[in-house]
Symmetry: C2
Subunit: 386 residues, 2 copies
Amino acid sequence: MIADPEGFGLDNLPYGVYSVGSAAPRVGVRLGDAVVDVAAVLDDDVFAAPSLNPFLAQGPARWAEVRARLTDLLAGHVPASARHPVGSVALHLPFEVADYVDFYASEHHATNLGRLFRPDSEPLMPNWKHLPVGYHGRAGTVVVSGTEIVRPCGQRRAPADDAPTYGPSARLDIEAEFGFVVGAGSRLGERIGVDAFADHVFGAVLVNDWSARDLQAWEYVPLGPHLGKSFATSVSPWVVPLAALHDARVPLPAQDPEPLPYLRGREPWGLDVEMVVEWNGEEVSRPPYREMYWSPAQMLAHLTVNGASARTGDLFASGTVSGPQRHQRGAFIELTWGGREPVTVAGEERTFLLDGDEVTISATAPGAGGGRISFGAVTGTVRPAR
Amino acid sequence: MIADPEGFGLDNLPYGVYSVGSAAPRVGVRLGDAVVDVAAVLDDDVFAAPSLNPFLAQGPARWAEVRARLTDLLAGHVPASARHPVGSVALHLPFEVADYVDFYASEHHATNLGRLFRPDSEPLMPNWKHLPVGYHGRAGTVVVSGTEIVRPCGQRRAPADDAPTYGPSARLDIEAEFGFVVGAGSRLGERIGVDAFADHVFGAVLVNDWSARDLQAWEYVPLGPHLGKSFATSVSPWVVPLAALHDARVPLPAQDPEPLPYLRGREPWGLDVEMVVEWNGEEVSRPPYREMYWSPAQMLAHLTVNGASARTGDLFASGTVSGPQRHQRGAFIELTWGGREPVTVAGEERTFLLDGDEVTISATAPGAGGGRISFGAVTGTVRPAR
């Protein structure tokens, strides 16, 4: 088979779940513009499942073995019966989400949001540079790319009003994030050290953490975001294995103050992933993941330092990826500074999302051999409130 | 069979998951001091599962039918092969937890915590009387009663210090809560109205939301509690069906201001459940659930008003149940006023939990025919940090 040049070569080989017609969903691996049926080429029923979870639970030695075998097999001839043009299949949520945690790991994003939500205080809270701040989101509303996003309703209170009103969100936003999928879990009471990251995390996806800013601003004190986020979180259909990210690894930006020992690791887990946000087909932002303050290995170490177990299918996301420049901001509330500085999309001044808008987040990273690998894209279209 | 007088008569019939020896876990129903195997007496394999979820997913008409059949059958002779003394079986987590949401629905608790965590501000946030404030917790660390609780480690910062330190929590606490188990879910984009509560919620359990107050106080701004809660949440092994709570239903305390229309219902879903908290076997508190400001029907309506779907196995808890009196407070941070007003337990002055401490929360409610039904108990013993 020939790998096409769009970032889905043999150095990538991301996994997803696909179906053809009314057949049951199965695990596929992407090569070029084809989806290859993994159960067929490996003659292994663990890939005949409708989610990656059974394979993920087999652990890192098995992930490496399967990747080596696929790399070998796919360099040769793949029978036509085991491959499908990617445009001819339906792509499903690639894994069953166990718990979903969302972090807040970009200093630029946290500072911008602090200024916008709490203009009279220091933008960064005192804890921010000591621990990767995060919270649990709703696992049951994580959906695959392409799922339509119905504008959520809820309570919001205008600054001039005493009481809240009920209605559709008027400040619907995105958050361009990067997410990590736990394959091998841990037991209750066990910690996952920073340097054990790759023994537990299988791979990465793109995440759009859709956010209703008006609902969020009213509800979020003191227990954090809830309905402003829980209506939908979209993920890309292809899980890129950590093994494909070897050449994307870079040192983190400097951390000052030095983190506590349980957050210090020997291996660099910064990632040189370049994201692109398109609004109705027009590029509006290029968030640079390499600018993130906290690494995903630190996130997982923090998540489990209290003895919380991790499970196959746990998803943890970085929080909005924003760089220091305006065109590197990964949320529209930042990009348009709370709606006060519109951006131009197809000749129109725009702030928050309108019904019918489509947002697509894509990303690439350095692959083996000097090329780039693709994460594909996570896309969603806004539909009117019901 | 004879129902014993301890609240597990024919008017209760809670469901759990039990095993005998090394046999696979199965669904049982409790009657008196016996566990009756439901798959055996009903000749139905849906109850041969290791969780209640397959039965819960069958929906409210089926729940009613099974309850009616069990009520009928258990009034007569149950073969010895289908029943076991409750002391001879192991009890397991009765359902697979999908998403876990924790509310904050006691005005007394929210006011007390506001005073303790934010002494310089109004204790209740402006949103509190307009919506049931809540947040997502960690579903993967919900454990069954009896599971040992390892003291969590993490970051905490003493008020006089600039920087946090790492170590075992020194302010380990409980929260006595009541939890609701979703049986029949809803689709993405669909709302569950206040009066559709009983079409979706199957039953109730007792919850102990173990809380590390020092970790929580340092981490919780601005995204809410995370590691201070995520290490363990214990639930009672018996799920009491809503059908058994008919005579426990009471009007809510007055809500002022009147909630928005989506939070108004025709049916009363206040519940006259009396909880008892024992610390090393000594009663220290009697939290009255009937004092709760927000009803569970309002919680579920709020949870889904933004279109978030609910799933079989979703658990949502009330938040700490506290009444207006000191001996009605359901968390030790309130009961001891931040550790400054110790309580006497077995002749010793106590504030937060010590290693070896055991906490048991039990509850009863009015049953049919003038007696009381029992929720059993949720218990846990604190083990030293690892």
